[in-house]
Amino acid sequence: MRHISIIFKRELAAYFNNPLAYVLIIIFSVLSMGLTFVIGKFLDLNDASLTNFFLFHPWIYMIFGPAIGMRLWSEEHRMGTTELLLTMPISPWQAIVGKFLAACVVLAAALLSTIPIVVTVYILGSPDGQMIFSGYLGSFLVGAATIAITCAISALTRSQISCLLISVCICFLLVLAGFPSVADFLRPTMPWLANLGNGISLWWHQSEMARGLVRLQSLAYLTTLIAFCLYLTSVIIRSKRA
């Protein structure tokens, strides 16, 4: 745990000691609020449940997650510090988890920056607090999943741009797989594929949790996806080390 903590603090300092984290958080805040209020016409919907607000998040994470996670290992590979890091008396797992947690803190800070909308709905109406909590839980897990996917891709490549592009593509497919238009298109001819798409879709799981319904299936999928991607990262790191 001590080693994880050391790596965690190092990564966190790297994020917040340069403009990257602030820029990312500002972009996330402006995007999520702008999409909710302007495109989503939040105030016209006359609903203090924040469901529509959370439904935009998977689309934002499609780019935001890779933007946070792309430097996790690609930077290390580019600077040649991967081997140095792994020769230290820490296991690859500890380094991976430490870095991943630091990236999740940036994600959490970005989510915290949306607190004003929660305050707003409490002023304008009487929202369901439990539903808002489940929406934030879903948003955090989906964001963490996109970071984990990016973490695995960044272990593969030295170029952050390549990592970003590949991760965005994968996240885009995972978000789109369960989108209603896609599911409606597949359901008449291949209902099993439509169900599979829902099962792997980040958007579908987020939409359920945004409505206050936390399925065991969603929790299991997101946590196992994160675990699987971190495992893949470890395999890639070890193979490169070998």
Partner: protein, 771 residues
């Protein structure tokens, strides 16, 4: 040239084995990942984080689903999202979620299919064959089919109430499932002179639409219409429902009495001033003159039965409740239209515990204590800020200047009685007969020359009375003579407040002696005949709540010349003391085969009594009544009486939607600022009116009216202009507040974070340069 591997060097083999092992490891972990997720996908376990547990199927639904033993198909027909209005799009996901939950509970028997209906597609044709119709070009309906039976939910968004905290999708689906899978429907006996089933008028005329409550009950029960003159109620009727039983005979009341004592369950919606009935004698659009059906009395009562049960229903009074007055605009509210608050609703009973918004329209109230052997349970009640007022207030059009004056006068002269009154209650226990002497004698036949039906056009055979009538044989007169406000004077205790026929309808039956009036009632009397001619048309009162709440306009009556209220009907018992007064009940005929009348109920009976019938009239205010708890309340009463508790427990669950309730408060705050100005303008109008009334002679009064009329018109125009400005300013204030919240959310936090980031950067730079 590659370096040859020295003999004995197993590094490449070991490397290859390592890759194989790694790949196998990755494949194994991937397999575990897929297996675990496939396993969890089979489970429907979930955590419902909503406060109202809207994603959890209720016990009632589970009970209904358990009873299903045949295949049921639920087909959802919906237009593509782009073709739907934005507010309907989120509903699709919610509906699909519900359908999925139903399927998960009975995956073998309940099949769910979704069809995206595009124009001129096969799906559109198929949707049409089920009986569904698009609404404004949009498809969003459900067809539930089991064997030969199909039931429809024609427009799913109607089950979602955007302005109240209720979603009824679970109820809609469960009641549909219950309907298609039930072998036999229970029988609901319906006694009502109102055209609940609607009527297609001859000659291509408009006709009245079917009431929504009728459709809701028809979907669950077999409805049997029973005449108000019946002498026997079939014991196979499971529940007897009386809706505004105006004109019910004593014999029919006796039949209800015997039915109740025999173990039947009775629900009665009475009314002191039924708005639908008040319009029933008016000219129908498209109908040739004189062919409209006769008018229905506006008041209804079950005096004999209620007296036996220990209660009185004041037929000549309606309740004005300042605590539950319905907002009608930025500056006024109507205490005769009640929007019930939570305190007025009993939360201890399944019938009302999940219901919220109730809307009562010119309601009566019940007073009394239960007779021995009976237990009372109050379901709905007024606030303590209520007063019983004359029914003539209800006949005045609130939208007209005179109506507004009446309201203003009512508001000013209002004296709260300080005690709550009963709007709806339940009586259970061992009932005793209201006819201890036995079956009453039938009413005497009408003398020749007097029309047999309602109306009474002289010379026509019985049953051929058409056209709006005043007294029998007289032409109809306008429903409203010019209304003048008299100084309030105490009405004698016990006297009905009926004004002459044109202004207010006669009471239906001889009302029991009314209790003494607590405070001098304000009376409105029509002006004598020498007044200048009034406007001929009197459209039905407009019941339009404030803009902040859904504001359905009451369907105005046709603009043809108005007609008076009901003429005395031969169906009604003659007034007390008149010739042919109700004779005392006769002894049984002596027929040995006739059943012996019951004196007391054989087992515990159940009676529900409600003081208003217009609350169910969605034809009056469709959007309001369809979205509040009035109709679910009525159906809950029927379900409770019929013993069907499953659907009652489902009806009206909470909703995940939470409207912006404080926007209304912001609007009220904005309008209250210049309320005083409007009040002083109202008082000026009152002063002009009072000047007119104070003139001693008709000639002076006429002259004062002519000059005062112009001033009043001008003042009314000024008030209207000021109100418009008020609304505009209120809207502007609300909009600016909302804009503030919007831009505060978009800009504030990024600005703060940018500031923090700059600060950190500056501090680091300073530290670095210091070194």
């Amino acid at each position: 040239m590659s370096t040859p591997t020295p003999p004995g060097d197993t590094t490449p083999v070991r490397a290859k084995r390592g890759w194989l092992l790694t790949s196998a490891g990755v494949a194994l972990v991937a397999g575990i990942f897929l297996t675990v997720n496939w396993f969890f996908s089979l489970s429907s376990a979930n955590l419902d984080f909503t406060e109202a547990k809207v994603h959890t199927l209720s016990a009632g639904t589970e009970s209904i689903l358990k009873r299903i033993d045949t295949d049921v198909t639920i087909k959802l027909y919906v237009s593509p999202e782009d073709d739907l209005m934005p507010q309907f799009r989120p509903v699709i996901g919610q509906v699909e979620g519900w359908l999925q939950r139903y399927h998960e509970l009975k995956p073998d028997l309940i099949k769910v299919q979704k069809f995206v209906v595009e124009r001129t597609s096969e799906e559109e044709q198929e949707a049409g064959t089920t009986g569904l119709q698009p609404q404004q070009g949009m498809w969003f309906g459900i067809a539930i089919t089991c064997l030969e039976k199909t039931t429809l939910i024609p427009w799913v968004p109607a089950l979602f109430s955007p302005f109240v905290d209720e979603d009824r999708i679970e109820f809609g689906l469960s009641s549909g499932l219950s309907e298609v899978t039930s072998a036999r429907k229970k029988v609901l006996g319906l006694m009502s002179p109102l055209k609940l089933a609607g009527d297609a008028m001859p000659f291509g005329g408009g006709g009245q639409p079917t009431w929504a409550i009728y459709e809701m009950l028809k979907s669950q029960y077999e409805i049997k219409n029973i005449e108000l003159t019946t002498t026997k109620i079939d014991p196979t009727v499971d529940v007897l429902l009386l809706l505004h039983p105006a004109g019910i005979t004593d014999e029919a009341q006796w039949a209800v009495d015997q039915y109740l004592l025999g173990g039947g369950h009775v629900i009665a919606f009475l009314d002191t001033y039924n708005l639908v009935a008040s319009q029933s004698g008016q000219q129908q659009r498209g109908m040739p003159p004189g062919m409209s059906p006769g008018a229905i009395p506006t008041g209804s009562n079950l005096a004999k039965l209620l007296t036996a049960w220990g209660y009185i229903f004041e037929s000549d009074k309606i309740v004005a409740d300042m605590g539950y007055a319905t907002p009608m605009g930025p500056n006024n509210s109507n205490p005769l239209l009640l929007t019930l608050g939570t305190e007025g609703i009993d939360r201890s009973t399944d019938i009302t515990k999940q219901l919220n918004d109730f809307w009562f329209i010119f309601s009566g109230t019940f007073t009394g204590t239960p007779a021995s052997g009976l237990t009372e349970k109050i379901l709905l009640k007024t606030s303590v800020k209520n007063q019983m007022v004359e029914t003539s207030y209800a006949s005045a059009n609130p939208g007209s200047p005179s109506g507004q004056q009446q309201m203003a006068r009512l508001n000013r002269s209002f004296r709260p009685e300080g005690k709550e009154r009963i709007l709806a209650f339940e009586l259970t226990g061992k009932f005793k007969t209201a006819f201890p002497e036995g079956k009453p004698a039938p009413p005497p036949p009408a003398p020749p020359g007097q029309g047999g039906g309602m109306g009474g056009m002289g010379g026509l055979p019985p049953g051929m009375n058409f056209g709006p009538q005043g007294e029998a044989g007289e032409p109809g007169t306008a429903a409203t003579a010019p209304i003048e406000v008299k100084a309030p004077e105490a009405a004698p205790a016990g006297s009905p407040a009926a004004a002459p026929a044109p202004a207010a309808p006669a009471p239906v039956a001889p009302a029991p002696a009314t209790p003494s009036v607590v405070s001098p009632p304000v009376t409105i009397e029509p002006k004598p005949a020498d007044a200048p001619a009034p406007p001929a048309a009197n459209p039905a009162p407009a019941l339009t709540p404030a803009p902040a709440t859904p504001a359905p306009a009451l369907t105005p009556a046709p603009t043809a010349p108005a007609v008076p209220a009901a003429a005395p009907s031969p169906l009604l018992p003659p007034p007390a003391g008149a010739a042919g007064a109700t004779p005392p009940p006769v002894a049984p005929s002596g027929d040995p085969n006739a059943p012996v009348p019951l004196k007391e109920s054989t087992k515990d009976g159940m009676v529900f009594l409600v003081g208003d019938t217009d609350m169910l009239a969605d034809i009056l205010a469709q959007q309001q009544i369809l979205q509040n708890s009035n109709l679910p309340f009525a159906v809950n009463l029927v379900d409770q009486a019929a013993g069907d508790k499953d659907l009652m427990s489902i009806r009206s669950r909470g909703s995940a939607r939470r409207p912006f309730s404080t926007i209304k408060l912001v609007r009220d705050e904005a309008t209250s600022k210049i309320r005083d100005q409007l009040k002083s303008m109202d008082e000026e109008v009152e002063k002009i009116n009072a000047d007119i009334q104070s003139q001693k002679t008709n000639k002076d009064r006429n002259a004062a009216l002519m000059s005062g009329w112009k001033k009043m018109e001008q003042k009314s125009r000024e008030i209207a202009a000021r109100k418009y400005q008020l609304e505009k300013e209120a809207n502007k204030e609300v909009k600016s507040k909302l804009n503030f919240y919007q831009w505060m959310n978009i800009i504030l936090v990024p600005a703060i974070i940018a500031g923090i980031g700059l600060l950190v950067l500056i501090i680091r730079k300073l530290k670095t340069s210091a070194r």
